[in-house]
């Protein structure tokens, strides 16, 4: 297996080549305004080392914040026609009803609500009003809409109404880009519909971005398929990522945790990723980040995306340090940071701002900059700053731990020098080689997943779980996984209050290696 992983970060675009389980080479290029130039540069730089000479690359995995940034910054969004199948229910809360106004104004191309949808037990809620859907599609066409998001009541249990509506819309607008909410999972109509609307709003950007990524790979002379990493630490084939860009929203943080697992060889541990400005703490379970279970807001929109459960604190290699001797109160580290300006503004680099990196240089932990500029920082002062940083890390780790015992901790990221070799509540601290490129490593080793989340009735618990497992397996294989490598990494069942017939909601997630790799 030979894969290239790329992480497009705020400062650097990192690329790593992994061959038969080992990091062969890691390179960095500045992240470019258009993103793709940075990717091309990093690939060229990897190629120039000669490691790719005459070798076949199985895949290029890219982790990107492109799509989430588009939503957060309200840029490059496509106008969307919202079609909801559920009348007469839900009429008072139409699509976009809980969106921030500025975003709704950009994205909402009109709302159509017609009869349709199912009950929790699979009965029809209302028959599908096909004539009304065709009429809606004609109105969308007249309004010039080419991106459509379709949602239906209980579509995660029975997607047939959404699928039929998609056919009807396609008959009227053959070039329409259609998102069905059932492709985005979970129970909870508004949140699922929001995900569908965001996805449809990213249709043009996803098409252009993926095409540009593919071109960058081609131009670099590498003949390998493109994969895009997703929020849950797995990858999607380019075609799937083009169809469902929302699944790539939070992949950066996930990749760093997965990379940490890979580089350390541990599958259950805490991970601390110390960057320039912030530190993310998360927990690895079976090699994957533990997911947040609650509502996640993206650009102000409520969603139920699969996102890693992370705690971010204002600690990093560029954190401002305010010493006690300055007379501004007790010692303070962060949350302000010089960020990517570290090499200009840090004292050891001729600047005026005391940072954690200056402290590390003074203490001899880092060999960077001009040590003679920080000789006024004595060992005791440095010790105090390191202790404060360790205390902040310790508290964050304790807040994220889900078991009382001591756990191993993997420290990655450019600021990992702030994490001492011993911390209370931690059995051992592991620093790994290439830890500063953990994100790109995580991208390179990403897998494929499949999920099932639905209600089963009148089945024993074991039968319901195995039915869900079968569905999740099939979905993973459809997404490109090798069936033989599939493993279940999450299984949760929940009996439902008030529902008759022993109804149980089952959520199963499986992952596997990319087929053919």
């Amino acid at each position: 297996m030979r894969r290239i992983g790329i992480d497009v970060g705020g400062t650097n675009t990192d690329a790593v080549l992994i061959e038969d389980g080992k990091v062969v080479r890691a390179v960095k290029a500045p992240t470019s305004e258009d993103v793709t130039t940075g990717i091309l540069e990093s690939l060229k730089s990897l190629g120039s080392t000669g490691v790719l000479q005459g070798k076949k690359v199985d895949g290029v995995m890219i982790g990107t914040t492109h799509f989430i940034n588009a939503v957060v910054q309200r840029r490059h969004l496509t106008r969307v026609g919202a079609l909801r199948l559920g009348m007469p229910a839900s009429a008072s809360l139409p699509p976009f009803c809980d969106w921030p106004e500025d975003l709704a104004e950009l994205v909402c191309g009109g709302v159509w609500m017609v009869e349709g949808g199912h009950e929790y037990d699979g009965r029809l809620f209302m028959p599908l009003d096909e004539a009304a859907i065709t009429k809606a599609a004609q109105e969308m066409k007249a309004a010039g809409l080419k991106s459509v998001a379709i949602s239906a009541i209980f579509s995660p249990l029975d997607p047939t109404h959404e699928r039929r509506a998609a056919e009807l819309v396609t008959q009227v607008i053959p070039e329409a880009n259609i998102t069905c909410s059932s492709d985005l999972g979970r129970i909870g109509l508004l949140e699922r519909e929001n995900a569908g609307l965001l996805n449809a709003a990213l249709a043009d950007l996803a098409r252009d971005t993926i095409a540009a990524f593919e071109k960058a790979i081609r131009d670099s002379g590498i003949a390998a398929p493109l994969f895009i990493t997703q929020n849950d630490g797995t990858v999607a084939e380019a075609s799937q990522a083009r169809r469902l860009p929302v699944y790539s929203f939070a992949s950066g943080a996930t990749n760093s945790m997965r990379g940490a697992a890979y580089l350390s060889g541990l599958s259950d541990a805490m991970v601390i990723d110390v960057g320039g400005t912030t530190t993310d703490v998360g927990q690895l379970k079976l090699g994957f980040p533990r997911e947040a279970n609650s509502v996640v807001k993206v650009g102000g929109v409520r969603t139920l995306f699969r996102m890693p459960d992370l705690l971010s604190i204002g600690l990093g290699g560029g954190s401002h340090v305010v010493l006690e001797s300055e007379g501004k109160g007790p010692l303070k580290v962060g949350p302000l940071s010089v960020g990517y300006r570290l090499l200009k503004e840090g004292i050891a680099f001729g600047g005026k701002q005391l940072t954690t990196t200056d402290i590390a240089i003074a203490a001899g932990v880092l060999k960077l900059g001009d040590k003679s500029k920080v000789t006024h920082l004595d060992a005791a002062t440095c010790r105090k700053v390191f202790d404060e940083a360790a205390k902040m890390a310790e508290e964050a780790i304790d807040r994220m731990k889900t078991e009382a015992g001591d756990v191993p901790l993997i420290a990655v990221g450019g600021g990992a020098f702030l994490i001492p070799d011993k911390l209370p509540g931690v059995s051992k601290v592991i620093h790994v080689e290439h830890g500063d490129c953990a994100n790109a490593v995580g991208a390179a080793i990403a897998q494929v997943s499949g999920e099932c989340d639905q209600i089963f009735k009148d089945l024993t618990r074991a039968d319901a779980l195995s039915a869900a497992q079968g569905i999740a397996n099939d979905r993973a294989v459809a997404a490109g996984a090798d069936r033989a490598s599939l493993a279940t990494i999450e299984s949760e069942d929940m009996p439902l209050a008030y529902l008759p017939g022993n109804s149980v909601r089952v959520r199963v997630r499986v992952v596997g290696d990319v087929a053919g790799s």
Partner: protein, 360 residues
Amino acid sequence: MNARELTPDDVESLAVGAWVLGTGGGGNPYLALLNMRMLFKEGKRVHLVSAEDLADDAYVAVIAGMGAPLVGIERLTDHRVFARAARFMEEHTRRKFDAVMGMEIGGGNGVRPLLVAANLGVPVVDSDTMGRAYPEAQMTSVAVGDLKPSPMTIVDVRGLESVVEAVPTWKWAERVGRKIVVEYGSTASTCQPPRTGAEVKKWGIHGTTTKAIAIGRAVREAQRTHDDPVAAILAVEPGKLLFRGKVMDVARRVTEGYLRGVTRFEGLDEFRNSTLSIEFQNEWIVASRDGEPLAMTPDLICVLDSVSGEAVGSETIRYGQRVTVIALPPPQVFLTPKGLEHVGPRAFGYDLDYRSVFSS
């Protein structure tokens, strides 16, 4: 009538506070809140009145949504369907309502009466019949008071409308009503048996909307200023901190159409080396620390997210969550022998004599 207009900010606070008073059940009030935001935008306003300001012969609607919160989050909440349940009762009894009140302040039902009031153009009474959330119709102050358990209207958005015309007891009201709700798809809007002003004054649990708003405001203010939201609740309510810890296990099962089970917590901070378990039937019923009963119904057991201070429900609580458990004092009406018969530990099948966590 002495009426106070509720502001949009009051309603935002009400949604947060009602979820706390939901004691694990009742469903998240978010969808009802969204409806209320829409109604505000349309220019609708709601006024809050005290029970004592009602005329003795005033005719008061008692509003509640019944069903599974899970179905609710797919079908959503439509204020007009709740209004229809009340209007249907008006048509059926040939009498116009003078005011609206809630059956339960806890959860989504804490906000729904406002939706009806905005539609009917009548005020909301600052009272309910549970002072919290409970799973069954006989677990109310009006049932303790042996007030008439019928008629009840049950409405579905598709034009399905039922009246439970007569039942001999509140337990029958629960059984028959539940059957209809399940057939409708496990969610429905109901108008519970109407009450007179005199009945509300005598048997209502008073000031609960105001209380929920105060709790919600305290939590929201603490969130804004990054203060401890749990301490903020305890500053406005005579509550008691029971435990701080992490969820270690959640075992759930459905029996007799309810969500029953137990959640185990492991202590943190001053509760380190201690465990708490809370048994639930939709709502948190009995909390035991290190095996010894600590707090039990009708005391309100509230499980809160330690960071946000917002409530955590029994259907959504998950492994690893960091929570703080507090108790709030129960309504007086449930502390009589008759009250405890309806909502004490034995009403939920526990062979325990009620002992208030506030008596120790």
